[in-house]
Symmetry: C3
Subunit: 458 residues, 3 copies
């Protein structure tokens, strides 16, 4: 299972070390502590009457850690459903997330406004970097099993950069609201990844098809990922919203949307699956669509009632997507979407963007009171303008994602990254030393026969 084309002894170290050295140099020249992490500046604020307890650390860090768990455990384990790709799922997720959060700090810092030529970092930049990383991991889901870690790092370099560009246009230029990233994270990551998968289409992937499925325990590992994503999604959507009622409301709307989505998912799964049985693919994925779909409107006065309707719809379209749309995507559009990110992040992301535009357009002073101003970027224009800004943002996001994915796909197609051959996709052994891979006759988790046990005790 080793050959020179996929041997990474030089390629991976070069990629990792060169990228990290570049990052370290850029951090050395560009990055500074912000007012809340710099000893001198913060103590000036203390001298001026602030309290240490006012430090934003206390109001953002718990949310940050929840997001962090979603990125590293949630995404990482969600993708372990493949029978022999668990090391790569968790391991490459770990690698590209660790890279992307550093690169994102630089790219987002550059676009979101430098301070005297310097990028300021603190808890908010950490959350935003994790968010951008989430987008890359969504794209990873589309190409899971068919790419080398070097390809994934190259993809991350480009995707993070374009993410920051798109985020800048959507949030800063257009002034849209998208705290939970229905557009900037989910729609962007999904369509970027689907386009990469399209360009990297493998007509002979069925040679690896016996590996492209789960086994009993791999599905249980994947449920660890699912449940963590589900539980902490309220923190994800609320992590960077305004303090106070905004953050509180966003978390609660997400909580209700996910709960309703879960019931829709179970109901629909039993309808469409074989023999009225539940399908783990639906449970692992579609039950999360409710979080995606309130990523934009969650901070608005969507109400628990509205959140539940959105969640219910999201779960429904997600299950139906897995059942009816994914086969079409693969056969007609030649998009081999390993994890079904179109169903979990793509369609629910677009739904979320639309819900956000409509909800913003309907905002009134009667409902929001003084809370209306934080919602609208431009305080002189009516709420309906905000709705238009949101809608344009969706179009821009789709455009940049698709075009970016197209270009990235062609770059990743160069035969220099050690990509796996069609016959050895979805297989850890190509990039990982596996226990008991050679030599030994031990089976994976057995099981000593009584005879062996006796000999051993003798």
């Amino acid at each position: 299972m080793t050959n020179s084309a996929t041997n990474l002894r030089l390629k991976l170290p070069m990629a990792c070390i060169i990228l990290e050295v570049i990052i370290i140099i850029l951090f050395g020249t560009l990055v500074q502590y912000d007012d809340e992490t710099d000893a001198k500046l913060w103590h000036k604020e203390i001298a001026n009457g602030s309290s240490n307890y006012d430090n934003d650390f206390y109001y953002r860090y718990p949310s940050f850690q929840d997001v962090h768990v979603m990125i590293f455990i949630g995404f990482g384990f969600l993708m372990t459903f493949l029978q022999r790709y668990g090391f790569s799922s968790v391991g490459f997720n770990f690698l590209i997330a660790a890279f992307a959060l550093q690169w994102a700090t630089l790219m987002q810092g550059f676009f979101h406004g430098m301070h005297g030529g310097k990028i300021h970092v603190g808890i908010e930049s950490m959350i935003n970097a994790d968010f951008c990383t989430g987008s890359v991991l969504i794209s990873f889901g589309a190409v899971l099993g068919k790419t080398s870690p070097v390809q994934l790092l190259v993809m991350s370099v480009i995707e993070v950069t374009l993410f920051a560009v798109n985020e800048f246009i959507v949030l800063t230029v257009l002034g849209a609201k998208d705290a939970g990233g229905s557009m900037t994270i989910h729609t962007f990551g999904a369509y970027f990844g689907l386009m990469v998968a399209r360009v990297l289409y493998r007509p002979n992937l069925d040679k690896s098809k016996h590996k492209n499925c789960s086994v009993y325990h791999s599905d249980l590992f994947a449920m660890i990922g699912t449940i963590y994503l589900w539980m902490f999604w309220p923190s994800f959507n609320s992590a960077v919203t305004a303090h106070g009622d905004d953050q509180h409301r966003t978390a609660m709307n997400t909580y209700y949307s996910l709960a309703a989505c879960t019931l829709a998912t179970y109901g629909l799964s039993a309808v469409v699956a074989h023999d009225g049985k539940l399908d783990m693919v639906h449970i692992q994925n579609a039950a999360l669509a409710g979080g995606v779909a309130v990523g934009t409107a969650g901070e608005m006065m969507l109400t628990p009632f509205g959140s539940m309707i959105v969640g219910f719809l999201a779960g429904t379209i997600s299950v139906l997507g897995f059942k009816f749309l994914s086969p079409i995507l693969e056969q007609k559009l030649k998009i081999q979407d390993t994890c079904g990110v179109h169903n979990l992040h793509g369609m629910p992301g677009v739904l979320g963007a639309i819900v956000g535009a409509v909800t913003a357009a309907l905002a009134t002073k009667e409902v929001y009171g003084d809370g209306l101003l934080p919602l609208l970027r431009n305080r002189q224009t009516p709420a309906s303008f905000q709705g238009i800004r949101q809608a344009i943002s969706l179009a821009v996001t789709l455009g940049i994602a698709l075009l970016g994915g197209l270009i990235t796909g062609f770059i990743l197609k160069l035969p220099i990254y050690g990509a796996p051959p069609d016959t050895i996709c979805f297989e850890d052994g190509i990039y990982w030393e596996l226990p008991g891979e050679e030599g030994s006759h031990e089976e994976l988790t057995t099981v000593r026969t009584p005879d062996e046990a006796e000999k051993l005790n003798a």
Copy 2:
């Protein structure tokens, strides 16, 4: 493994979708944001001098997320110990929890006081809904492996409703303290579930007995559940206590109780188990009894010393319960308690109620200072009255739980819910599409049947 009686293609979707539609309608007509989540109302408080940082979100949400993890990961994975019931354990836990938290919001909102005909929701209602859900999951443990998801949903509808009634009587009418729910959550959930299990008694369950045991990896998955429950129990018991010293003290008392309980559990397990070896069943369950047993008194001045004694006792009775009482329950009382919830939640819950009554009765102004008043619901009566209120609450809880479980059991006995036959209990394949249901010769984790075990020991 498919037959029409257990085919859920119609039953489960109908249950899920009808219930969710009812919930959405009720939320639309009855539920409103509370003062801290409503944009208009909160911004009024801001205008009156409040700070966004005063929003209760920051003082309750981290605890909420810990509780959330206990409900979905803790309970879900704790029950994966069965060799072929992991999908159902995590998956049905997920389903009924997602349903129950919505239903609980309505029922608790209804009983805990409407505001102008509306139920107000915010972080406290979210925690309380998760708590109520915990109670349902305890009952689920008693009937694990022997019920269809439709039965579980029906059980949840009734149990959540009765939980809210009992909670109203105990906390509001009787004025008892029970922040961590020794009575309202653990005692209620356990005896309700045991009564349901009694009514659903299956004389021929031994036809499935070779499935009613663990395998090596399933026990490791279960330990994920155990450890998460153990770690976050301090957050559970303190999540809705009064702010300040109460919350701080409750978390700490629980921490010490659990630590002492764990040592008692290991010690006792080695005493009673076969050959001086440790038994995973004890470690997975009894080590948690210390959290249950300080669910009432944890917020009081129990002291670390007192907490440890209670924890030590709880671990002891729990291990002894598994060893000596569970077989009697099954053979004499015909209660087939799959997870042993009587040992983890039943007896330790009653112990916790008693400890709470005694500790409350002994409260003095000397020890509590001005902190005495928050403890006593009625400030005119002496502490001993509070002890009596606590004791009556335990009796009421037991009564409602047993009667409610009885009625629920008979409702669940109707042959319309697709319950599994005696021969296919404890088996995922009846409700889930399984990967690799048949076929290959690879073994990954094997199983000892009782017969084989006997031969082995011979």
Copy 3:
């Protein structure tokens, strides 16, 4: 697999129960709530104008819970990589952590200053107790698979005591800074454990060598531990630093150090491992070295740039240590370091101590402003003195750890603790009742090939 020498029916219960009874008695006589957990004292502060929201619970408890997860899930699952030692890894980790945190509360309370003859407890003592426990678990990693739980409890008694002595000397007498414990936790725990392993050297351990390796799923369980440690390390290093910028900065420095460390680890692993493939041992361990190495300097103005360089170095020496140093340690120095704690905690801990000393020595008023004072224990001496204090602290820590480990090793060598024989090391069956140890032909985790699937659907 049972014999009287390793039968723990008497030994383990006696150890657990006697120790717990001693602890309870000492808690009864010595331990009191502190000002923030005592109802009377806290309500006095409230009466004097404090707010319940000022209680330190809200500023430390989320960090505490993250640390708690690292101790029980992080360490526990990291050690499940062994194929047949998962019950013991998680289970003994659980037992000795539950014991050590109680004992540590007493020992640290005794050395860190009694209050009128009483030990005061609150959230800070809980974090510190968990920290001390972490040190014991590091030592556990060195002797994993070769010790009985009774030996581990005895080791914990001594190690916790010496930890408290060393911590007192380093932090109080010498006035060093070491919030994340590069010295007091990692260096101490590693060299203590390595010395114990040296004394317990087993020349015939190769009789169990076929068990001293991982299998596919055990490596995935171990990744749960790794990822949790990695994610929450920022909370670990910042949990007891000063409030405000200190805590904020420490978390962020750790975040960047770990990210850089991860890229170094992947790069180096592919260089040194067989055939250019990645080695799970490196990923599981070396990627964490970045957290260890900023355990001292993380709270200083190390800058993200500096943190990344330290992390990169730490990952590098850790991977190289696993590849080149561990075999030498085993063959020449006769130290059988099961988990490679020398590579994860030993060398990175020393690196962290040195980085801390240098960073402290270079601190200036220009950079720290008024934030300089909290850094220096002695405000009259220049920063370079602080550097010297740090350096001496490293030497003291190494001395106490090595000497303590030596003595402890000889105590553990007494043939009275039920230690496993050389032939049955790394094997759960010796201390645990195992499910399905042998036997049946049922498959649990099999795979359906496309052909089989077709037949099935036909």
